[in-house]
């Protein structure tokens, strides 16, 4: 399980505490513009995000629903791609100092390939980013990336459709945590959590020693509180991105989510 935050653990594990679920906040790099997204990163950190998942805008966001896809489109129009996103992360991390929450880049595979896997891994590492999540790179297809990505936590995903063998494989290859997709489908706010979500997390846990974080469709404090009761981490994406144009609103919202996480097991 996760180590104690004070233990000077490197990587994404630092974001998890033993006594409560971690709050993982997703933001889109460069949306609506560079300065505002930088301010939103700081706002999320101040609001109590334990880990930040920084989305890299991409032209064919296969796993994303309308909110994130639209933010990606706007960010690309503002000139943002992988290079700019890495620079943004670096700027945020150096400004925020040692107490900054660890950052994972959420990016699709092709921009990494286009930069060159080795060079991409190198720049991401050099920026101080702790890990990457690549939604279109299942563990079976990850060997070329993993061979150059040492020092980075590559997080793999499990889904409600994953077989036991696949859960096992994800557990073996993942570093930092395992990302459990709450429902079949794309990212985006949903009124209801998937039923049987707690059972799904239990099932994943029986194959996985790492912390298990739940994402896709978690939209507000009430749902965060519910998920935080049984998962090691909760990811909130679209609901934050929707507010990203106003960093003050991001901070307030993240604060509410953070309280929900803290209250969940008390």
């Amino acid at each position: 399980m996760a180590s104690n935050a004070s233990d000077c653990v490197a990587g994404l594990a630092r974001g998890f505490a033993p006594d409560r679920a971690a709050l993982i906040v997703y933001l889109m790099a460069g949306y609506p513009d560079k300065e505002t997204s930088l301010a939103a990163l700081h706002a999320a950190a101040r609001g109590g995000a334990d880990i930040i998942e920084l989305g890299v805008p991409y032209g064919d966001p296969l796993a994303d629903g309308p909110t994130i896809a639209e933010a990606a489109r706007a960010a690309r129009e503002a000139g943002f791609g992988l290079r700019e996103s890495i620079r943004l992360a670096e700027e945020f991390l150096s400004e925020a100092g040692p107490d900054a929450p660890p950052v994972a880049l959420m990016n699709y595979l092709n921009p990494l390939m286009r930069m060159g896997l080795e060079q991409a891994a190198e720049s991401i590492r050099n920026a101080g980013v702790a890990g990457v999540i690549v939604p279109d790179m299942p563990p079976d297809s990850a060997a070329p990336w993993l061979s150059v990505a040492s020092g980075l936590d590559t997080v793999f995903l499990v889904a409600p459709t994953s077989t036991p063998e696949r859960m096992q494989k994800v557990g073996e290859r993942s570093k930092g945590f395992v990302y459990c997709v709450s429902t079949t489908g794309v990212t985006g706010e949903r009124a209801q959590l998937a039923k049987d979500l707690a059972e799904l997390v239990d099932r994943v846990r029986s194959f996985v020693a790492l912390p298990v974080a739940v994402g896709f469709g978690v939209s507000g404090p009430a749902q965060v509180g519910e998920v935080a009761r049984f998962a090691d981490g909760v990811v909130v994406g679209s609901a934050v991105v929707r507010r990203q144009g106003d960093p003050a609103e991001v901070e307030g919202f993240v604060r509410e989510l953070s309280s929900a996480v803290r209250a969940a097991r008390s």
């Binding site: 921009p111 990494l112 279109d136 995903l157 459709t161 079949t184």
Partner: protein, 412 residues
Amino acid sequence: MSDVFLPSAEMAYSSPDAQGFFGPYGGTFVPETVVPALSELAEAFCETLDDPAFAAEYGTLLQDYVGRPTPLFSAERLAEAVGADRVYLKREDLDHTGAHKINNTLGQVLLARRMGKRRVIAETGAGQHGVATATAAALLGLECAVFMGTEDMRRQSLNVYKMRLLGAEVVPVADGTGTLADAVTATLRHWVERVEDTFYVLGSAVGPHPYPVMVREFQKVIGEETLVQLQGRAERIPDAVVACVGGGSNAIGMFYPFLRDLPPEKRPLLVGAEAAGLGLDSDKHGASLAKGSPGVLHGFYSYLLQDDAGNPLEAYSISAGLDYPGVGPEHSHLKDEGLVRYEPVTDTEALEAFALLTRTEGIIPAIESSHALALLPHLAAELGPGALIVVNLSGRGDKDMDIVREGGLGGE
């Protein structure tokens, strides 16, 4: 299989590997949610390969429903016009629904039914694959939804109407430019959501494993028949075999048996015609092999039109069936290995070839297929007197009347 030449170990062209890689190309780069469905599909597909009952049912449909074997027609006036000795047209334009697409959709929809899926989905560009899927679904009694870009729905309204008549739901896709690539993305997204009860019928030799190899298996009948028909006329192995390449399904269906059954020194020159649109130097084309670079889109690694940041670029062609920014992984491999030559053909060249075939033979081809026809004069000149060339006429031109009229052909 063709009984012209029996394959031996030395001549064997064997791709892909078990993970679906053709050399470095192909693979499975998709969200985890659909990975189990792809494994299940690969397994079910492999079982059909050894199942005589499946082969019999599929074979009967190809014969009695599609109208196979399609003729291999000696186009004498066309041959004379382009300066070749003989030109044979493989008449996929005579397939039921008007293009080779039905060979593949019948295979996949049969497989869907066998896997117990009640519902199929498909993407479509020109609407040919959508119509072929809706047709197969009607025949076999499955529910069908087809995703189509709004711009393509406008350009191909007749096919939209046909699909609805056939009982399919046509789902408009307004994302991006409202064309084929957007429709593929929307279909994949929808599949991620409904993967448990839905079968994705992919329309070309693209996508994650096992689609490229499965589509090839369902289209290889084109090349197999061609080999048998050539032999039946006591013809020699042709000097060149030509097909147009969008995603690459009609081309691989034609080329694969030649690669598999013939030793390298006996193979004809295999030529794929890519859409050069308004020209390779414009940014309006669909020539992924000539102008693209390797990358991942829609779940597989292959040549791809992309920008410096790795975003897919919009493809363009006068033919809605060729305006795709990627290309099937096997074609990328065949290009790198030098086993197939790929040539760009512009809109204008395709329209000229369209007019030429229409006037010399009384056959109105699809604009996609016209790209292959456009290479004939060049190949005849290159190969010299006595050239024997086979062209895969992948579809008929009924769907293209409006576009051709706009292009200024056939006016007073």
